[in-house]
Amino acid sequence: MSTTLLSVRGLSITLGSDARATSLLQDVSFDVSTGQILSIVGESGSGKSMTAKAIMGLLPPKANSSGIAMFRGQNLLAKNTTPPRGTGIGLIFQEPMTALTPVLTIGSQLTEAIVVHGLADINAAHRRAIEMLDRVGIPNPVQRMRQYPHELSGGMRQRVMIAMMMLLEPDILIADEPTTALDVTVQAQILDLLRDIVFDTQIGLILITHDMGVVAEMASDVIVLKAGQVVEAGSVQQIFDAPNAEYTRALLDAVPSIEAAHLQPLSTKGTVILSARNLHKTFRGQRGVGPAGPKTKALDDVSLDIWHGETLALVGESGSGKSTLGRVLLRLTEADQGTVELGNMDLLALTGAQLRLTRRKIQMIFQDPYASLDPRQSVGAAILEPIIIQGSATKSDRHEVVSELLTRVGLTPEMANRFPHEFSGGQRQRIAIARAIASGPELIIADEPTSALDVSIQAQILDLLADLKQEKKLTMLFISHDLAVVRQVADRVAVMRQGRIIELGPVDAVWSAPRHPYTKALIDAAPVPDPHRKRGLRTPLTGSFSTGKLTEVAPGHWVAS
């Protein structure tokens, strides 16, 4: 029998004084009961985090909240009320790195809260902390108690955060994008853990996320927020199967699915335009004098051909070396060893002016549209820069070229005189794309071009890239951690792990019949935006895989043996 734990009615938040107040949240109402997972979904700026902050009493001083949030017979939104943080409602943050104090051991941070709240004495607290670490799936909990946060991986830290919150035995847990900063396999584990905890202890979980896949896997009820207003609320089946609101439908349409069929026809094997052979790159922990730090093999004997007109996706988790490979091809990072042939030149042997002229042929689209444009350069100047450097347009043509490029990426020519900070993230990424295609490159390397963007914007940018590719016969190396996006845009895919390519082949073949156990685990872990497909326990990732030479198991499909 479920009972209502938290009941929120008419929650509104305004920012600023009464006269010129901006509304951040309007009239949000929901209930959370025992054993329920309620998901609050929305794009950036929708007010989903504000909702959590209001309940926790953590709003910034200038923000005013109104409405009622009844919890344990007390209105949390009333003036002079301090919500029972920790003991009543626990909060888990997105960034487990910054949510733990770096200078204290895990053990002291775990026990501190219990002792401060007077739940147990120090010895009992220590015992309970170890039990809880074991419960959240941390191996060797006794040793972990003595370690510092930086000694743990991101996933482990998030487990510690969950343990810390659960030790205080809250009735409700609020998780604000708890897995956004984590790799997809780790994300799956953390989500499993949260679901387990909710099932076992019958607490209520408010899961704040932008990821419809996570919602489908986790939630029983969903609230869709847009610009501070509830667009739609209902059970997860209803939201996904029969969304009422236009916005919800658009949001669901924009979500790429790993299961979706490939949209573009597979380009047949064309001529090789870039051919990398035996690339090695090792990073050392420390530079300069003194003992060398630990070595990290970012690239370990990587060989790869890119065919004309294809989109080749590089997939892997953080630290897999996928970004390093992109940077080596751009000569932003120097490889230790190996060759890269572009046309009939060895790209890695070029220097000076020759290198600068050749750079035109490979262009990059960066992940962060806020950082990849010079803040003090007008948009027109930024787009014009590669053209001026390559001397490929006369002075009189320049204005027209910029107008044309801006129009092509969906912006207006008048925007040329504006500066990057006047644009939104999606618009900036369009500007970056215009700049990348300005010099007429042969290969475009896109390093997570949409992962900093909202899903509806992501869909637009992916469409734009697909159109441009078709129109200009571009070849693209698409670096991503998002398997669903890759499925949508790529022709071929290379899966990387720890600096090695472990599987390479046509995207449909690899996704529908992965041969390598790591690829299988990766695909298995990706959340699917379909609530009817609740999956059982996943195959846990175990220690070592075969990472040997690639052998061809089917035409064009290579797997590490």
Binding site: D253, L332, D374, R376, Q377, P386, I389, M415, E422, Q460
Partner: protein, 288 residues
Amino acid sequence: MDTKVDTSVHASPLGFWKRLLLSPNGIVGLVIVLGLIFCAIFAEHLAPHNPAKMGTGGRFLPPNSDFFLGTDEFGRDMLSRILYGSRITLLIGAVAVGISLTIGMLIGMLAAFRRGWIEAILMRSTDILFSFTETLIALSFVAVLGPSLQNAVIAVGVAGIPFYARTCYSAALVETSKPYFEASISIGSSPGRLLFFHLLPNVLPTMIVVATLGVSTAILAAAGLSFLGLGAQPPTSEWGYMLAGSRDYINRAPWLMTIPGLAIAVTVLGFNLLGDGLRTSLDPVERK
């Protein structure tokens, strides 16, 4: 899929001047500094007497209706001397900071951009210079070049180089590691273009703030040198020198020391406030 694109742009944020004028520090600093510049330019018209003429009034006259700030040991009008002194003071500040800023920024930008052995040589030499106090560097410079106002200014300018080089170096390091800088490398920009089109405009705001704050330090340092007799020579009306020359009469005519001291203090305060205001208003308006 409809490809309707949002083509609106954010409302343009307040301009630089508006933001400067809205910050209390900035506006007070600006008023003081503008006032100083005004005094320096129109000293001839504002000064009631010739600053170098002895016996304009009696000796050691306290402030009165004829001589607003009194007269000194030679009967020179203090108000006129202070007004003319503002010229030299401002010139010292501007030239000394100009020297430190130009050379310091070149060193800092080059070191951050080139890395490797160039970085090592430039920054380690800067570290060595840093280990001496500025006054010591300035003193030894004057000792070599000989005491004169011009040499004092050069000395103060050289002594400030390490500080500007270090500040610029760290600002440039941050900028060179940003994606836009790499983006520019990857389109084939030449080193000169990278340095002067991308790096310079992005470190300049930081350096302008530092330089504004540095003007006050330079004025103080030059006044210190003059006070020691190594800077301005008589009969120049320079505030530091006036301070030094009147220390024998501190009991008899306290205003002789107080007034130039106050003038230096107000100038330093003005530049510090302006620097503070500039810092807030030059902050790039990235992601609100």
